[in-house]
């Protein structure tokens, strides 16, 4: 499964949700997770000043969209309300942008519509947990089938 971990960070920069979605993902303890999420938030904010291009429309906050390395790939979606969804995955996972938009839809349906959930607070909702995990694992499995490394195997089985 090429998708490793999903993080959700609120407007203030604190981690409100994280989930390991694969056995290959590194298990990190809760404190380290919080710390790393805040570091990413800081990097995100600084990225716009580091960029050589001046943003045309200042209303849209600029920041890190993707970090691609040899060993992993990190993609980030920043919503207009200040929430950041970022996910780490295998370097050849190319479906992450669409996946993050769908996670945003699931967030709006399962988290915000819960009357006991306070906005910007840590998410502890079983419903959301299950829905997001099953959705991402399913998408990752589908994505895996489309990736070039698995194509020779599937074509072999074609009659």
């Amino acid at each position: 499964m090429p998708v490793y971990t999903l993080f959700i960070v609120n407007k203030a920069g604190s981690l409100i949700y994280h989930k390991n979605l694969s056995t290959k993902a590194r298990t990190i303890n809760a404190n380290e997770c919080l710390y790393m999420a805040s570091v990413f938030h800081g990097l995100f904010l600084n990225a716009s000043s580091l960029s050589p291009l001046k943003s045309v429309n200042l209303a849209v906050p600029q920041g890190i969209e993707a970090i691609v390395t040899e060993n992993f790939r990190l993609e980030c979606l920043r919503t207009l309300t200040g929430i950041k969804f970022f996910i780490t995955a295998d370097p050849d996972a190319d479906y992450l942008k669409a996946l993050l938009s769908d996670v945003y839809v699931i967030y709006s349906d399962y988290v915000l519509k819960d009357p006991f959930y306070v906005v910007e607070m840590p998410i502890r909702l079983q419903n959301f947990d299950q829905k997001v995990s099953s959705f991402i694992i399913e998408t990752a499995a589908r994505g895996e089938m489309k990736s070039p490394s698995s194509r020779p195997a599937s074509s072999r089985h074609r009659p």
Binding site: L53, V56, N57, A59, V60, P61, T79, L80, T81, G82, I83, S101, Y104, V105, Y107, S108, D109, L112, K113, V119
Partner: protein, 169 residues
């Protein structure tokens, strides 16, 4: 250079609103009208003062708005507004259509920073007749609150929001 400034014409916005409306889960509009009417009646009984009821409806709307904005942005896929004109049209053509099935129009005042959104069919006021003693009640004030809450969550700078409801008889 990836400039993400998509110039959406207002016709496209209407189509976006319609397609978003198609995809949304729907509930019986009479159920909504009845429960909203019951809510307002209960509030009037509890608070007695019409002014307080207006304020409370607006506050309720505000709390709905701060959550609704994420659903609106996620399901319509809107990324940014270039200016206030875009904001006004997105609210009218996409927002109202998506959530209430209302076809709304934007009209501008002489002040370029002031606009009003008008629509004819309001699902909240189905079956409602306001008696004379409640003529100061802003029955659909919850909608004003929703707009205030939603816009407050996405603006980078603070702007004052003045909502005036005009009931058409």
């Amino acid at each position: 250079i990836d400039l993400d400034v998509t110039a959406m014409s207002y016709g496209r916005m209407t189509r976006l609103g319609d397609s978003a409306f198609e995809k949304m889960e729907k509930v019986n509009s009479e159920l909504l009208a009845m429960t909203y009417g019951a809510l307002v009646t209960a509030m009037i009984k509890d608070f007695q003062d019409i002014k307080i009821v207006n304020e409370e409806l607006e506050k309720m709307g505000y709390n709905i708005g701060v959550r609704l904005i994420d659903e609106f942005l996620a399901k319509s896929g809107i990324t940014q507004c270039r200016n206030l004109k875009d904001t006004a049209h997105y609210i009218a053509k996409v927002g109202f259509k998506m959530f209430l099935g209302i076809n709304a129009e934007v009209s501008w005042s002489s002040n370029p920073r002031q606009f009003s959104i008008e629509f004819k069919g309001n699902p909240l006021i189905e079956f409602v007749e306001l008696p004379e003693k409640f003529k100061d009640l802003d029955y659909s004030n919850i909608l004003c609150g929703v707009l205030r809450g939603a816009l407050y969550s996405v603006t980078l700078f603070y702007f004052l929001f003045a909502n005036r409801l005009q009931r058409s008889v």
